[in-house]
Amino acid sequence: MSTVATDDHHDDHQESPYSIKRWLFTTNHKDIGTLYLWFSFIMFLIGGVMALVIRTELFEPGLQFVDPQFFNSMTTMHAIMMIFGVVMPAFTGLANWLIPMMVGATDMALPRMNNWSFWILPFAFAMMLSTLFMDGGGPAGGWTLYPPLVLQTGDALPFVILSMHFMGLSSIMGAINVIATILNMRAPGMTLMKMPLFVWTWLITAYLLIAVMPVLAGGITMLLTDKFFGTSFFNAAGGGDPVMFQHIFWFFGHPEVYILILPSFGVVSSIIPTFARKPLFGYASMVYATGSIAFLSFIVWAHHMFTVGMPLAGELFFMFATMLIAVPTGVKVFNWIATMWRGSMTFETPMLFALGFIIMFSIGGFSGLMLALAPVDFQYHDTYFVVAHFHYVLVPGSIFAIIAAVYYWLPKWCGNMYNEGLGKIHFWLSTIFVNLTFFPMHFVGLAGMPRRIPDYALQFSDYNMLATIGAFGFGFAQLLFLYLVIKAIRGGEKATSQVWENAEGLEWTLSSPPPYHSFTTPPVIK
């Protein structure tokens, strides 16, 4: 693997590339990136199976397969798995693989902590999943953990909270590492405004993580003391305030939404210029738009709580602030389209996923704008319209961007090309089924179907059936992705260093696969 000779003592790990110790004790950014990405994929399968349990029960009206309590626990766990187990680790995996190569560094700034931040995760999620087998079942109060309901959880509650603390710990350490790497290890000459957008979006994401994960930690710790130590933070009977938890949760939760999407913007901003053979339009405005979105994310949280009974002034403030987010988000979409405009486009798999991202993420953005309007949100709130909205921004949004990133950088990582024909089929199957799953949810939501119910009235039956068919199709299509990735890792057409005709950036100056330690001598930045 190593083409660059070094005398660095870390090199000894790669001499036993197949030993378990390599993975347990690794401090190498590429190995850790790989671990994060595989972990994310395994969680994607587990969270996906939970989604299919939900969709199977909802295939037709009536209770057929699962108990309502278990159904609630599936919706709760599906969300926790997908958010904390799939999207966040996948982005951290991409950050590990790419940021050192993109800024011209040898490795991440804090390699030992890097190892720890990954290896916390399998234990955290093992603990989270184990709660499904505990007395009283897994958490079933929704991933938002609203009290008083969440305090009715059985033995699972302390384990759920402890494992979420671990996940937060891992995220914060990952974020510190990203910031330390970006701020300290850039190659000479790479000023902040010369950094690739993926690096920029991750830098901002990392600050969001450090700002809000402790808020979540505080909120869930208060739940713990309410349950076990006699406090009444959220207990009205004891002088507490159940709504305060919602404010704390969404003060974390809304920036979290952007934690789940900003790195996608970075990925798409890398892919579009390559396949349009034209530089990214409006680089500076992309950076400022990302910063604006991050800032706004801190002042819009209560739009998740319009029905909670806020004063009119509060509702107006959060409505206006939320609507403002459309401006920087629009700027991004316009910039991507201007990048394509008068380019010379080709449509390899990463480009297809990036284009799918732009269109379907925008659909989620449009429904987001509709949801921002408080008086109408009273009708949308807690219905399948909301479910459709956030799945559009998360599945053909974040997940498509992650898949696009894997196709785009996989040849660089493993040195082999993936199968282009099958990759395109994977894209079209995913796109068709993702729309079949989530588009009908807009209809049932508007027609009055609340979310998080295991059984529903007869007028919602047709579209629920379609959504279930779509969900199974989408799930099985991802096995094709697994096959493609494994096949490319095991062999195939050799990739050149540049891989893509017009790819620009430091990572493309390294060999494919790149040396174990990315840049042992800093590259020269033009």
Binding site: L149, G309, E315, S344, A447
Partner: protein, 272 residues
């Protein structure tokens, strides 16, 4: 991918959407206009926002698809090199602002009207329980619990499902037509949310809080809704049914039901 393939896939996608449309003859796909002035305003706002999004999407994706079809390498298009334009960027930052302001004005007007609970004719206190509703006509001395009426056999697939499957209760909330009814909404155990789409009222029911909402229904009839905030195992099984009647019939309803006054004994029986 060649042009032919594109067309093939595009037609596959359109067939899929057409199938989605055809699959449902008769099942609702949009928000109800409802039966209050407010619900009609909300519906209008919803449709304005929807069409606005559609037109923006057509314009933006139109440009994008034109570019995808015209500016492709297989057509021998050579790439331009431009990568910024302050004018264009200023325009597409300002334009959305103006559109948002246009949208914010009707939204604000409607919101202000919805939050104005003054000058009401009647007050109903609504309390959510796991998993039923309690209604109390505060000044009339009438109160009762309202529980799902759908038989267990229908839910478990042992009997054919009725027309109002899961949306039927033993005792409906009866309201007079054309009267401004104020709802005081709270809960006794965990959070619930009282939602009737036709009234455009959805408000969380939270222990320790009393939230206000109101509706002035202009058409008699029966309107159905559900609990909209996850409240535990049977969250999907605590529907809301509102029957709006003429004033005379409402008076009769009150007269007939004053005997329903209870001290919780009935709740205990119902909760069995």
């Amino acid at each position: 991918m060649s042009g032919n393939n594109w067309l093939k896939w595009l037609s596959a996608v359109s067939v899929m959407f057409a199938a989605m449309g055809a699959a449902n003859a008769g099942q609702p796909i949009n928000m109800p206009v409802g039966v209050t002035d407010i619900s009609a305003d909300v519906f209008d706002l919803h449709m304005i926002a929807f069409w606005l999004c559609v037109w923006i999407a057509v314009a933006v994706f139109g440009v994008m698809f034109y570019s995808i079809f015209a500016h492709r390498k297989s057509k021998g298009h050579t790439p331009a090199t431009f990568h910024e334009s302050t004018t264009v960027e200023a325009i597409w930052t300002t334009m959305p602002f103006l559109i948002l302001i246009a949208l914010a004005i009707p939204a604000t007007t409607t919101l202000v009207a919805m939050e104005d609970t003054s000058d009401y004719d009647l007050t109903v206190k609504i309390t959510g329980y796991q998993w039923l509703w309690h209604y109390e006509y505060i000044d009339e001395g009438v109160d009762f619990y309202s529980v799902l009426k759908t038989p267990r056999d229908q839910i478990n697939g042992l009997a054919p499902k009725g027309d109002n499957y899961l949306l039927e209760v033993d005792k409906e909330l009866v309201l007079p037509v054309d009267k401004k009814v104020r709802f005081l909404i709270t809960a006794n155990d965990v959070n619930h949310a009282w939602w009737v789409p036709d009234l455009a009222v959805k408000k969380d029911a939270i222990p320790g809080f009393i939230n206000e909402a109101w509706a002035k229904v202009h058409t008699t009839g029966t309107y159905r809704g559900q609990c909209a905030e996850l409240c535990g195992r049977d969250h999907g099984f605590m529907p809301i049914v509102v029957r709006v009647v003429e004033q005379a019939e409402f008076d009769q309803f009150l007269a007939d039901n004053t005997t329903l006054l209870n001290d919780g004994a009935e709740y205990a029986a119902v909760a069995e």
